[in-house]
Symmetry: C2
Subunit: 332 residues, 2 copies
Amino acid sequence: MDRGPTMIDVAEAASVSLKTVSRYVNGATNINPELAERIREAVQTLGYRRNLAAASIRPGWTSRMLGLIIGDLGNPYYSTLARGVEREVHARGYILTTASSDEDATRNDELVDRMLEQRVDGLIIVPPYTGGRSWADLPPPLPPRVLVDRPAPEGGGYTVLADNAAGAARAVELLVQEGATRIAFVGDSELISTMAERRQGYESALQAAGIAADPALVDHGVHTDEQAEQAVERLLADQGADAVFAANNRASIGALRAFRARGERVPLIGFDDFESAELTSPATTVVSHDIARMGAIAAQTLLTLIDGDEPAALTTVLPVALRRRGSERAAR
Amino acid sequence: MDRGPTMIDVAEAASVSLKTVSRYVNGATNINPELAERIREAVQTLGYRRNLAAASIRPGWTSRMLGLIIGDLGNPYYSTLARGVEREVHARGYILTTASSDEDATRNDELVDRMLEQRVDGLIIVPPYTGGRSWADLPPPLPPRVLVDRPAPEGGGYTVLADNAAGAARAVELLVQEGATRIAFVGDSELISTMAERRQGYESALQAAGIAADPALVDHGVHTDEQAEQAVERLLADQGADAVFAANNRASIGALRAFRARGERVPLIGFDDFESAELTSPATTVVSHDIARMGAIAAQTLLTLIDGDEPAALTTVLPVALRRRGSERAAR
């Protein structure tokens, strides 16, 4: 690509020093107004444009670009998170490069490398449960980073999480209050920390209610809504489940599809709200946190680090709320 | 930020020429294996990393980064589109910077400027209906660009669209077949070309059926699902609408909420599929196209342009399919 006019061309056309053009282009406000006007005219006439990428060879340069790595941009959970991050970083003049790791450790590491090559000023990452390289193995310099939704497999670092165990426990408590004794747990791999924590909340609530946990009622093999539909169908038909705790939005959609296919339902509570939860019959009760807010807090934490300040908290845990809508009750 | 070791450091440590290091780092395969191994070791020992941003001062350099500007990443329509673009560009080794314009022309122009400053290799844009600068007013060099979902207000350029008018006409035809005569149109601003085309399809189907279009049944003021709920409530209560054509997914969700609040429904067909369309009672009939595929085709077109080749088509129009699920029928 032709590189177009340079700052030197602008300086010549405006008959000012290169240093003054540089200060103008980088937003300095204390420039002699007459000179500033000459520079403005030269910029417009020549069609000069900053090259932020090329500027990266200068000390103190920053790309004003941040990186976000999530599981899957096509999952509304993650796109809502990404939107929350985007709003916050755009308001501060940054742009955001977002990429999906598909929970693949190798892919995640490649994306990190690509973003480091682009010299992002910071990274926000949902660490894939399949692990990957340790940050300690990467050569410096490394930009600040914040983990969101899950902690690092190796622990440590700035992290923004939801109170998964408490949320799951609250859901299971309510199903028990409504009379369920064989509550199915349907979710993704136990290696995902959010899933392990939700499972823990499920078991602690059963224990508190004096109900023995039956491993046959637990299915951790559900990554898509089709798999969730099959799992719920099987748990209802073969294991006599009398209620379902759906540990994420995919599992909730799958449970609702299984109910529809069978022509009967059992009490259901899902983790994470979803777009049409209020439109199902009955409306679907969920435990959920504010995902966009989780993204915004991760972005604020990262921007604080980039500014060289100390964030208020190393780990931020967001509360989870119960939204009762009717699906927790038995069919009448 | 400390810039870390350079290619010169690697060349010295490996006792090879700078040119050989450069060829190695940029993926050349015809390098003496012994030299390549020495370079590999030096890269690892020193922790050398390419600086793609700084490399931009070299002729022929490309950022291997593409830009995507959509209306709102938080809307599942756009996040599905973004996911379709992402899959395609990642497979080709590019990363993608995605940003939401919120349909704001000024914001869109700022995002274009930011992406040009980052020297993106290409742009995919959903042009905001509020207009904005003409590309002709921007100084060269400009990277290739593809418009998706809507044509440019000024026309021209590579564009990927859906057959909006035919899809809307098909929906309205079916509602008429089911006995409706006062079909409400609920959608976003008529200034959005997709909305104008869907309105056109709505009117042509009414005309073909010999039904006079009543402007009082049309509401183009609906941007959120809350606004859609209010619009449908009003059209049912005050205008005697006996069916609803919801011109996008926000309008469909709003119509379903209005039905729930009233405790009664009328026949409904929506434009664009949505996650829980199969879970409503009755399941929601939609006309829809493959949004992820639209994104993939836009990405393929852009990558063809970047390669210096001629795309197969200037404008690609994707077919729209009817998915009958029951909501088009009157309540029994």
